[in-house]
């Protein structure tokens, strides 16, 4: 590994190619070189030497540009598929004296170079500049940036020199989140409302009467019961908005559904599951997510949402084979939303308090 690092540092990948102006320049230089050798005229040799020196200096200066340039990438913490995010290149000129001219920066993704529109005309000596660019990733999952490619035509525009810097970055791309259809929203809004878990919390309904403890709010004293029992009794209310829902994403697809659009349908299912997770998180629900054999237990809040999205980002469909584990079962007494990508998938045994949503109907 050390040898590989050393080798990579010593021979940082460089490539060079001629611009159209450079082609003409080189051809002219060759012509003058031939003429000078043919005639033995030393002044022609002088002009030939001048043209060669411009080529040499072009190479030296462009290499120097890369040597004194330090570039890092700044990525946002969260990216959603098909939603533009802002990434940035932070470019620093380490030289205290010499500016850097005409540099372009691009991302290297696999074997492909992605133009980001980052084009710097000048970077002053000992200064740093931040160049932002939009980052749009079409698919969820791990998005890997293998490196940064720098291009320059400095100083004379005869050659395009490029350098690839192996700055690897990986970012988790969450599934796309879309707004749910209004009818579905209405339908889901009342989900679990009548099944609110009887728990103590903020509310108006009576949950419990108990003896007064020091520190209890005196406004919660239930005077009628207190008068009857001649003991200070306080009233505990029932939590009104504490609701729970389980979202189950079906990840295995039956034999009959192995069509060409099966992956696309699964993606729609993931989008729907993610959208549901966001919908319920915004409404303060406790959510449990089951995706195949993976599960995230009930919890609420932003961080829980991100964990669920991370799980959805990485989940993959599996074929109905021996290797595919059976899905986690859901309890009979919880509200469940089954998100399915395929119409002919086997239904999971549930109670009557569940919904089955076919992704293709809603996405």
């Amino acid at each position: 590994m050390t040898i590989r690092i050393v080798f990579r540092r010593l021979f940082r990948y460089r490539s060079i190619r001629l611009t159209p102006d450079g082609v003409r320049f080189v051809l002219l230089a060759v012509g003058i070189g031939v003429a000078s050798i043919n005639t033995g005229n030393n002044l022609l040799y002088l002009l030939f030497a001048m043209m060669l020196s411009l080529i040499v200096i072009s190479g030296i200066l462009s290499e120097r540009c890369f040597k004194q340039l330090q570039i890092t990438r700044h990525l946002p913490p969260a990216i959603f598929a098909n939603q533009a995010a802002t990434a940035a290149f932070i470019i620093a000129n380490r030289s205290p004296r010499f500016p850097i001219f005409s540099v372009r920066a691009m991302d290297v993704v696999g074997d492909e170079v992605v133009e980001r529109g980052v084009h710097l005309l000048q970077v002053s000596p000992a200064s740093t500049t931040i160049q932002s660019y939009p980052l749009l990733v079409p698919r969820r999952g791990l998005y890997r940036l293998d490196g940064i490619k720098l291009l320059t035509r400095f100083p004379f525009g005869l050659f395009v020199k490029s350098a690839t810097i192996p700055v690897v970055a990986q970012i988790l791309v969450y599934p796309e989140v879309r707004a749910l259809a209004p009818m579905l929203c209405d339908d889901l809004a009342i989900l679990g409302h009548e099944q609110a878990l009887a728990q103590r919390g903020q509310g108006t309904a009576l949950h419990n009467l108990r003896l007064y403890q020091p520190g209890d709010d005196s406004r919660s004293i239930h005077w009628r019961t207190t008068a009857r029992k001649s003991l200070l009794i306080v009233r505990e209310t029932e939590a009104e908005d504490l609701r729970r829902v389980a979202i189950v994403l079906q990840t295995f697809h039956p034999e009959s559904s192995r069509m060409l659009d099966a992956p696309e349908n699964f993606e729609k299912a993931v989008i729907l599951a993610a959208s549901l997770a966001v919908f319920f998180t915004e409404r303060g629900y406790e959510i449990r997510l089951v995706a195949g054999e993976q599960e995230i237990t009930y919890e609420a809040g932003e961080s829980h949402l991100l964990r669920m999205l991370a799980l959805l980002a990485m989940c993959r469909p599996c074929a109905d084979t021996i290797d595919c584990h059976s899905p986690k079962s859901v309890n009979g007494n919880e509200w469940t939303i089954h998100v399915s990508a395929w119409a002919d998938s086997e239904p999971v045994e549930t109670s009557s308090d569940c919904r089955v949503l076919l992704a293709t109907d809603y996405v």
């Binding site: 102006d21 003409r24 002219l28 003058i32 050798i37 043919n38 005639t39 033995g40 005229n41 030393n42 002044l43 022609l44 040799y45 002088l46 002009l47 030939f48 030497a49 001048m50 060669l52 020196s53 411009l54 040499v56 200096i57 200066l61 932070i90 620093a92 380490r94 205290p96 004296r97 010499f98 500016p99 001219f101 005409s102 084009h119 005309l121 000048q122 002053s124 000596p125 000992a126 200064s127 740093t128 500049t129 931040i130 035509r153 400095f154 100083p155 004379f156 525009g157």
Partner: protein, 716 residues
């Protein structure tokens, strides 16, 4: 100045330099020169008045096409009836294209076309001239070209970045003319010059040229043909044209003896002309090393050898000059001929300048010959050099009168020489009338003349006394160049002298012509002239005539130098080891001083390395806090300045709101305040620390802001 204007002006300057260089060769016809300069001036005026916009008066495309046809016809006509040189004829089209491009320069893509045309002109100048001023033109052209290429590159990048198809962004983008940009560009130009020189020196020379043209019109000389009329040398005695330069690489400084560069020799005097009666010439043998041996090594006399490096201008003769007596010649010629009198010729005059080296072995008068008399002269073999023209007895009588006090041939030669020096006056003005006996006129009538008369008189006088003598023509070197350590020999140095034969010593040179005092010139101008001429010699030697053997010499010199340095270092270390210097560590062990030196050397290198690393780390560290402080101080200065002018920022106003207020209430100061506020935002709240360029920009903005309220400026 905007980027567009800077690029266009620079391009015109570059083209102007290239065209001026071409015009300076003297090979352009006057109409072309006039046309070229007029187009440059019109183009400059166009830029001044209209910039990048379309000028009011412009030629249509049909008009330009018509002019192109005229130019093509001019090429044909010049080739068929004019110069008959395809290169010079094609210059018509080149200059026309330059004029066309200069006067129709509108878009960015026109710029590289003009670059190419200008370069072609510069290239043509390189073919047409070898003069020293081309060196200066080359340096100026290279420096300007670097600027032009950089500005063009910046312009292209600006257009690409802005995605501006019609290039209007260039007319509003200022040139990045910061101090750094200026010095960076100049540093690139100087580096280009250094790299060019290095490549020029090491680029291998093949040593042949198929289409080499003669460089320069040959200088017309006099006095070196097979028959020379008396008086021909006088025609060139006032011509200061440089003919050759002679260096003596083995002699430090100026040679102590007089330098006579021998050209042609004459033995037969008709009474009005000198003729070389030795019509047969033999080809000089060439050794394997490429040396022409004029005389076999076994026949060489013993004596000091004098090597001369001679650079001759293009002459119309094939004579090879050198000190008497030439033993070897080296040069870029295929064959050399010689005759019985030691004259040297090429088979035909070579085009262009000629550089060659001659090794001579001067003859010195032996004591026996100095004291011997005429009886020592052999009866046969010298009759040619005793030939006399038809003449009266007064010449013999004069000779006898001059040599009454001596009986030896050497004494006679000295006496005649001294008599001529003493009793005859040097002048170039001998009248236009062609005399029947110029010698008699000189000796008895005018008693004035120049070198030919003096030499002829001495030869004839000696011959009348039975002493073999002959006339030699060549050049007398009198102008020593202290800067370049060579003799500069001009047409006016053409000279005639005498060679007298002695049995043991051979032909000995005598010069009966009195020296002439040259017109005193301004010493400063003379020094300047010498300096420029020495530079011209170096230019000729190391650029124009630089060849493969020079490269080998350079390589050998470098190797020798590195060997000598290595030897010096090892000798120094060895001498240290031999000495019995030791340091005693506690009296038990002794450490040789060489090991101490090595250890100290390693220690010093380590210290230097650590210091370098520390410096590097220090430079790489960024101190954001320091740069934020700069931003705050800058903003405070601006606020202070505005407060003094009655614009106080209220505490609850943001910097942006305050700048908007200034824009409304004081429009002249508004743009500067806005720019400063943006800079403040970038450093204070963004992540862009101040760079030295930003600091410079801040100072400029604050200075301009302060001038807004000065009397005389636009009132707020």
């Amino acid at each position: 100045m905007t980027l567009q204007r800077a690029l266009r002006v620079n391009t015109r300057v570059l083209t102007g330099i290239a065209f001026s260089t071409l015009a300076g060769t003297g090979k352009l016809s006057l109409p072309l020169v006039v046309m070229g300069f007029i187009s440059l001036i019109m183009s400059a005026g166009q830029e001044w008045k209209w910039g990048a916009g379309r000028p009011k008066f412009r030629l249509s495309q049909a008009g330009w096409n018509g002019l192109l046809i005229v130019a093509c016809l001019a090429v044909v006509g010049d080739f068929l009836w004019g110069t008959r040189n395809i290169l010079q004829s094609s210059l018509y089209v080149l200059v026309f294209l330059m004029a066309n491009k200069l006067l129709t320069l509108t878009r960015l893509k026109d710029i590289p076309q003009l670059f190419v045309i200008g370069f072609m002109e510069f290239l043509a100048a390189a073919v047409l001239t070898v003069d020293l001023w081309y060196a200066l033109a080359f340096v100026v052209y290279l420096l300007t070209a670097i600027w032009a290429l950089l500005l063009y590159h910046v312009s292209c990048e600006t257009v690409q970045k802005s995605g501006n198809v019609d290039e209007t962004c260039l007319s509003v983008t200022p040139v990045p003319f910061t101090t750094r940009f200026f010095w960076t560009t100049n540093a690139i130009a100087i580096a280009a010059l250094a790299v060019t020189s290095s490549i020029f020196l090491v680029m291998p020379r093949t040593g042949f040229g198929f289409f080499q043209k003669s460089q320069g019109t040959p200088i017309r000389t006099s006095g070196f043909s097979e028959k020379v009329d008396l008086g021909v040398i006088g025609a060139v005695k006032q011509d200061p044209t440089l003919v050759m330069r002679v260096q003596f690489p083995d002699i430090e400084g100026e040679p102590s003896e007089r330098v006579y560069m021998r050209g042609a020799t004459f033995d037969h005097y008709t009474g009005q002309s000198w003729i070389n009666s030795f019509s047969r010439r033999r080809v000089v043998a060439k050794t394997e090393e490429g040396v022409f041996e004029v005389a076999k090594k076994s026949a060489h006399r013993r004596g000091p050898r004098v090597i001369q490096e001679i650079l001759v201008e293009a002459l119309d003769i094939s004579v090879l000059f050198g000190l008497p007596v030439a033993a070897e010649i080296r040069g870029p010629f295929t064959s050399v001929e010689t005759d019985a009198m030691g004259g040297l010729w090429l088979t035909q005059p070579l085009p262009g300048r000629l550089q060659y080296s001659v090794t001579s072995i001067p003859h010195y008068l032996s004591i026996e010959d100095r004291e011997g008399d005429l009886s020592q002269y052999p009866a046969e073999g010298t009759s040619r050099f005793l030939q006399l023209p038809p003449m009266g007895p007064q010449v013999r009588e004069l000779a006898q009168a001059m040599t009454m006090a001596t009986t030896t041939p050497h004494g006679m030669a000295i006496a005649i020489r001294d008599s001529l020096l003493r009793n005859y006056q040097y002048t170039l003005d001998v009248g236009a009338h062609r005399s029947d006996s110029p010698l008699d006129d000189f000796l008895f009538t005018r008693k004035t003349g120049y070198c030919e008369h003096y030499a002829t008189a001495m030869v004839i006088l000696l011959r009348t006394l039975g002493v073999p003598a002959r006339l030699v023509t060549g050049y007398f070197a009198s102008e020593w160049n202290n800067f370049g350590h060579y003799y500069a020999i001009r047409q006016q140095d053409a000279h005639a002298w005498v060679e007298v034969w002695f049995p043991r010593s051979g032909w000995i040179t005598f010069d009966p012509t009195p020296g002439t005092a040259k017109e005193s010139s301004n010493p400063f101008l003379k020094q300047m002239g010498s300096f420029i001429d020495s530079f011209r010699l170096k230019w000729d030697r190391f650029v124009i005539h630089y060849n493969f053997s020079d490269q080998m010499t350079l390589a050998k010199g470098l190797k020798q130098h590195s060997d000598s340095v290595r030897e010096w270092v090892s000798r120094g270390l060895y001498s240290l080891e031999l000495r019995d210097w030791t340091f005693h560590e506690g009296g038990s062990t002794s450490v040789p001083v060489t090991i101490w030196l090595y250890l100290m050397g390693i220690f010093v290198c380590g210290l230097v390395g650590i210091y370098a690393l520390w410096l590097r780390a220090r430079r790489a560290r960024f101190t954001p806090v320091k740069r934020h402080v700069h931003g705050i101080r800058m903003y405070e200065r601006m606020l202070k300045l505005l407060t003094t002018q009655g614009f106080e920022k209220s505490p609850n106003a943001t910097p942006y709101e305050f700048s908007q207020r200034i824009m409304r209430e004081c429009p002249p100061a508004g743009p500067m305040v806005q720019a400063l506020t943006e800079l403040y935002y970038h450093t204070r709240f963004g992540q862009e620390p101040f760079s030295p360029c930003d600091l410079q920009k801040v100072e400029q903005l604050l200075t301009h802001l302060a001038t807004v309220w000065k009397p005389g400026s636009q009132r707020a």
